[in-house]
Amino acid sequence: MNNDKVKQILTSNEMIVACIIIGLCIIIGIVNPMFVGQHTAINLSRAMLVTLIFAIAEMIVIVSGGIDVSFPAVACISLYATIKFMNANSIDSVLFAFAMSGGIGIVCGLLNAILVSKIKIPPLIATLGVSSLLNGITLAYLGAANISKIPDNVDSLSQQFIYTYTNEAGIKYALTVLILIPIVLYILAYVVLKYTMLGRGIYAIGGDKNAARIAGFNIIKIQFIVYMTAGFLAGIGGMTYTILMRQAGPQSLMGAEMMVIAAIVIGGTRITGGHGSVIGTLLGVTLIALVQNNLIMLGVPTHFQTFIVGFIIVVGTVITSIRVRYIDAKPKV
């Protein structure tokens, strides 16, 4: 009995990914001792920061039985419109930047929700459509040029750190204050998904929509909340990216969806809905970021890295789906 539970934990997806991460770190560390140290953690955190925000939003959508491929477009339109508006009206407030970007995101999410939940268009098609619609609007009405003038107060956020570290060679590594955003988000998501009826409802509709309806869940309400939250977080993620890069680009995040979805799936979320965890998502993003950013330390040539990243995604997703099949085939109790 107890043995069974220990075994369950040891063979859980989270555990497997965690082991792969540790193994990879050890290998990189042996090949290149430069890897070991606080600076790696700081660099990695910075590299993962925005992906983490997108990933938690996408995971919630997928758990609910949907998918949202429009978040890069939502993020781009939110961040670009906000920066443009603020520059034009000489507004300079961090709070305003996030509020407006998130607000635009919510409106885009609302559009997704209406298409998916009310008009009942398959989520992939609906969000794909919204994605190209938004991208078109951004380019046609807002502009195509990158803006490097970010309002001062907003821009200064990129120079605020919660932790700095100087190595022997005197190189300074600093952890941006923006890392607090994903930290707070992940804690919040964990609590909401596990300990509220809204969270359980998201899992329930992802597991069996019909059963959820019969049980008395308000499916439409839950779907609206899910897609609007995803839109909001896309807006927040977009603004965070702008501050981090100190530049607002109308296309800067396009194409991010593949990597984010891959990270989520590697983290154990089932693309068919109903299964997924916050910790798994964190680990999935970590693994991909680790591979993307540190292969160079193993002496892998640059053009080869894309291949390796792709390879890991394929292997990771294959392992996950084999696991699902293995669980299905296990004798029932």
Partner: protein
């Protein structure tokens, strides 16, 4: 004098042009077990969904405890004490047992937070009330069908239910589990809960029901105490015709169709040998886990065996994959029809021709006309109630969907057809029709194997019967030498020997 809990007056319900209910009346009292019977597609499940607030009736009145209800939503119905265990259970495979059981309670009280400790406690309490124990932390997708149903029952009884409705609860249960379910039902009845049960198996109805309401084509046919219905009247009310429940006794023949020798897959079955002659319908029965289903799976290439020879129509063949099985014209009607047998969102026609599509491919084009024609032929022949051949499977009633699985495989013109639980959830009239089709096939020289735990089906429908235990054949005889009682003894003998293992 017990009081009336639920009264339905002239309930009508249409789906587009399909009139599923054409004015149904029903009265259920507290503390009584009321059986709702009728052929596939007569509207039983639809009626239940009206009672539980899932479907709005097109017209008609619902009275609960004497009060007229204008708008009934699922949550409203639960609040009034109506609990339903649906044909497909409607539970969440991705959530734990505890959560599934406690979910309704949480929704009903309108709490915003999820209390895992409380959920576990509620679940354990509910399970102990009906004398079962399943690990509350397991995910429901890991449970067997019988245990999934127990989860659904537990969920139904936690909320001070006043009425519990069970839609075909015994389709996936072994006879021992049916006994346990009956006890649970009596237990509910004695607590003054109204129980409504839908079932196609007459014997089981006689065991539990006190009151009977029979529907046909969405209308009431008869209602009254169970004692007013003998078997003949019951069948006549159900089907509108008389059905002889006689035995299958084919002309003896020595033309061998199928010969299986020393078929072995360690851990599942060992040294299985039997022959099947022209005209034979072979029944394989045994308890769950005795290897009966696995033999069917193996003959269709779903399981690779370790050793053994198969001769089909005098040709030695090997079957290591489904493709090989299909190439040798073997057809298989699987046990779990909803996941293995059908494309639920596709039309009846697409499903009927799914396994024989090659036949309709001419000059790289599908012969649409022939496909529709053959589908309509099967709909008629197999007695499927459907508006047209183009409606999607998921709008059919449970039993009618099952008939399409059988039609799909019959349409492949097989040399050997294996049916695993072929008439689960199929009404008594259609069952007779399906049996007739099988007997005709056997007479034409097609090998027919029926795997089932429905003993009366095996006894009446097969002329040879194999009983399995622990992967071995413990009896292989002509059905004329057996009756239901003897067969049951053979099986329960196994139960004794196994002790409490079946409970695991």
């Amino acid at each position: 004098m017990s009081e009336v809990f639920l009264k339905l007056d002239n309930i009508k319900k249409s789906f587009g042009g399909v009139h599923a209910l054409k004015g149904v009346n029903l009265e259920v009292k507290l503390g009584e077990v009321h059986c709702l019977a009728g052929e596939n597609g007569c509207g039983k499940s639809t009626l239940i969904k009206v009672i539980s607030g899932v479907h709005d009736p097109t017209s008609g009145d619902i009275y609960i405890e004497g009060k007229k209800i204008t708008k009934l939503t699922p949550i409203e119905a639960i609040k009034m004490g109506i609990q339903v265990i649906y044909q497909d259970f409607a539970i969440f495979p991705n959530l734990t047992v505890a959560e599934n059981i406690a979910m309704n309670n949480a929704l009903m009280t309108g709490t915003k937070t999820m209390n895992w400790k409380k959920a576990r406690k509620i679940a354990l309490e509910a399970m102990s009330r009906i004398g079962v124990s399943i690990d509350p932390d397991l995910l429901v997708e890991r449970l067997s069908v019988a245990n999934k149903q127990i989860v659904a029952i537990c969920r139904a009884i936690i909320n001070d239910a006043k009425m519990v409705i069970l839609d075909e609860p015994t389709t996936a249960l072994t006879s021992k589990e049916v006994d346990r379910l009956n006890e649970i039902i009596f237990n509910l009845r004695d607590k003054n809960i109204a129980v409504v049960i839908v079932n196609h198996k007459l014997d089981e109805i006689y065991q539990v029901a006190k009151q009977l309401t029979i529907l046909r084509n969405g209308e009431n046919v008869a209602t009254g105490g169970i004692e007013e219905f003998d078997r003949g009247r019951f069948i006549n009310c159900l089907t509108g015709r008389d059905i002889q429940e006689d035995f299958y006794r084919p002309e003896p023949s020595d033309q061998e169709v199928l010969k299986v020798e020393n078929y072995t897959k360690k851990g599942m079955f060992e040294n299985i040998s039997f022959t099947l002659n022209k005209g034979d319908v072979l029944g394989i029965t045994g308890l769950l886990g005795s290897g009966r289903s696995e033999i069917g799976d193996a003959l269709f290439g779903l399981i690779a065996v370790e050793s053994g020879n198969i001769t089909l129509n005098d040709n030695p063949i090997t079957i290591n994959s489904i493709q090989e099985a299909i190439k040798n014209k073997i057809a298989y009607v699987p046990e779990d029809r909803l996941t293995q047998g059908l494309f639920l969102k596709r039309s009846i026609e697409d499903n009927t021709i799914a396994a024989s599509i090659g036949k309709y491919l001419k000059n790289f084009k599908l012969d649409q006309h022939a496909m529709t024609e053959v589908t309509n032929m099967w709909i008629k022949k197999i007695g499927c109630v459907a508006a047209s051949s183009q409606v999607p499977i998921n709008t059919l009633s449970g039993g009618n969907a099952q008939k399409i699985v059988i039609a799909k495989w019959l349409n492949t013109n097989p040399s050997l057809i294996i049916l695993n639980g072929p008439t689960v959830g199929v009404d008594i009239g259609a069952k007779a029709d399906i049996h007739k089709i099988l007997h005709d096939l056997a007479a034409e020289g097609v090998g027919v194997i029926v795997i089932s735990d429905d003993l009366s089906e095996i006894i009446q429908n097969c002329n040879k019967i194999i009983v399995m235990e622990d992967g071995k054949i413990i009896s292989n005889t002509d059905s004329s030498e057996l009756d239901e009682e003897k067969l049951a003894k053979l099986l329960t003998g196994t139960v004794m020997a196994e002790g409490g293992v079946a409970n695991e």
